[in-house]
Symmetry: C2
Subunit: 406 residues, 2 copies
């Protein structure tokens, strides 16, 4: 085929608050209205403090004033945007907008990317369920294009989490998003989470963490946001070694785990150091058998088999190090509709990053890897790809692609 | 000169508990005895749980049963060991042994590398003062060979911390070790610490953090020690970006900061990402001016001028990336007497790492950089270097060096 199958491993979807209301169990609607009022107040404060007016203005301009947020919940608009961007299918996370670049579209009770931080566990679960039901409906409207990832708060009530994984699977969702951080709860090496990993493996639901949830151990002060941005990749990466060392993939060989929107550049160094420790390096020799406590293979063997990096809007270093990461373990993504993603210039950015790469590697990272991970029906999307997919000439040829960033 | 000036930027010194007792203010001696009894009990438990008997046996054998611990506090023995290892001078941190590979030699009340975690602030300060007094005496016995680093607990009582910096400076110590982690106290971007940075700059005391203090947000469970070992470098590196972004080196251009025993391989990636953010990359454009809040130069400009990596027992990657880090910012170290260091095979390991490197770069990393950072009197150590320093032939020639690891 002359066109590339492009699957974004990182899209965000969610409706305005009023739509969510009807998906919530009635008992939680009062609390939801109160929470929404608080969120609005917080956004007002955030707006009054913000230092990025210039950027917000530009973002509104290049997205026609909409910020891509109508596509976050209107099925036909979403399809139209994806067609323009050359994207055949996508993996859908919550929280299309939480930071006030446009209208708010955030999973109820902060249950989404923030992992329910600061929310009562019961409310986080209720909010997650509402989002999952809404998402199932949204995915059902274009089943071959939309891979829904259910929000599953696993930190408090394990039985409820396992039940929600099965419920989401029944609804047709194909992945599970757990909190990236465990906050004051036991870390993910704790045996208490075993039923969660088991339920994902059993149902074939792909396990996910997603970047965005930063540390909580520092407050306001000079450089705070810069410190946050510098550390963000690490907090988002952290579950990787916790899951590998604690033997989750040893005990669940069929479990697939995707780290979303966190690049890939950081992985080779950390994995090489982990292998070194497993094999028995000089620096850690004194720790004895600590590195073989729960695993029988090298850490990279589990990574190769079970783990995938959804490197949204990949950078030059992500591509440069692809052979160290493993071409088969990298999934491209566009982070639609977040402004740090490639929208509205996705075709431009695809050419920018893949122009000089071999076609077989491009094919894998742009779509085939994701098709394998999520079991996408390639025959079903083939006609769509034939119509909208970026051509080999468009990606690897000499002609510049429009529209392009100013 | 045909011989290299070798300065270890990472040595550990401290006496058995009985010696510390007399250096403690009398009011704290009762609490000290109680704490020591607890430590002994904990060590018994640790010994009964340990999984590294084989390594401990080997370590005792290759160090003549002593584990290098007599050199941790007996001046003449220390000099003799350094002579054998070819090391002219060294920077001295606390906690020669805390993990039970041999006799215990740990700063009172856990005030040392663990940063006083879990200790009452008043006791941590008393323990630090006792160590600093002992260390001043130890350094005075060989003033040109020993650069003492004072323990200064800065998390609770800032005035007391500043007073201790001045007191340690009066005693002849030349550096300050602050806790690597801030635990539940404000992070190091907080303006409350400003007097600490000011006191270091004013006295010329070099600021240090040292690896070893891991996270506290996970407990026992499969893979725990492996997770700890994988993360350790990051926790030890973390103050770097917190200090840079919050403008500490902008406001204190003469302050020198050394990260001890944490390699150097990790620095180029993080610093490059920081520069990218400062200049204004696509991924963080939406955050506006957050990256120029407290600094006026690129993060790497502060790193180059103010920051040094004491890469003890450097690995292949540390040397490979030396030009990305900056050859002038890397200080070699041997971590004496910790078993993950190069003792008792320091000459072997120096040749192993520096054999293929240019002489001028070897000269800088092995000793000249440290001489500059700590203001070491080169004329005073020259006769010693002429007697014990590794020769160019020994480091870069064809003859293998003995003794060597089995």
């Amino acid at each position: 085929m002359d066109r590339y199958l492009v699957i974004s491993s990182d899209g965000h979807a969610g409706p305005p608050a009023a739509h969510y209301r009807e998906y919530l169990d009635p008992a939680y609607r009062g609390a939801f209205d109160e929470h929404q009022a608080q969120v609005k107040q917080m956004l007002e404060v955030a707006r009054s403090m913000r230092q990025n007016d210039e950027f917000v203005e530009k973002w509104q301009r290049i997205t026609g004033g909409d910020g891509g947020l109508t596509a976050a919940y209107e099925s036909e608009v979403r399809n139209q945007v994806l067609d323009e961007q050359g994207v055949a299918a996508e993996v859908l996370f919550p929280d299309a907008d939480v930071l006030g670049t446009g209208r708010i579209s955030a999973s109820p009770f902060g249950s989404g990317l923030a992992g329910g931080a600061g929310t009562e566990p019961e409310l986080a679960l209720a909010g997650a369920r509402a989002h999952n039901r809404w998402l199932a409906d949204f995915c059902a409207a274009a089943p071959h294009r939309r891979i829904g990832v259910a929000i599953v708060p696993i930190l408090y009530d394990i039985d409820a989490a396992v039940a929600e994984i099965h419920a989401a699977h029944e609804l047709g969702l194909r992945g599970v998003l757990i909190p990236t951080r465990w906050f004051d709860q036991p870390a993910y090496h704790d045996p208490r989470y075993e039923p969660v990993w088991g339920a994902c493996e059993e149902t074939g639901m792909v396990l996910h963490t997603h970047s965005g949830s930063g540390p909580a151990d520092y407050g306001l002060g000079p450089g705070m946001m810069a410190i946050y941005a510098t550390e963000a990749y690490w907090w988002a990466a952290r579950p990787l070694w916790v899951l590998i060392w604690s033997g989750v993939f040893e005990r669940h060989p069929a479990l697939k785990y995707v780290i979303a929107e966190n690049g890939a550049w950081w992985a080779p160094d950390i994995l090489a150091k982990m292998d070194e420790k497993f094999v028995g390096g000089h620096n850690t020799e004194k720790m004895g058998k600590a590195f073989r406590e729960a695993i029988t293979m090298k850490p990279t063997d589990y990574f190769d088999r079970n783990c995938f990096l959804a490197a949204s809007t990949p950078g030059v270093e992500d591509m440069e190090r692809r052979h160290l990461v493993g071409v088969g373990n990298i999934l491209w993504g566009n982070d639609l509709p977040h402004p740090e993603g490639t929208f509205p210039y996705t075709r431009y950015w695809i050419r920018e990053r893949f122009h000089d790469l071999p076609e077989d590697e491009t094919r894998k990272m742009l779509g085939e890897n994701a098709a394998d991970v999520y079991g996408i029906d390639r025959a079903a999307v083939a006609p769509l790809v034939a119509r909208i997919g970026p051509t080999r000439e468009e990606v690897h040829g000499d002609q510049p692609v429009a529209p392009a960033p100013a």
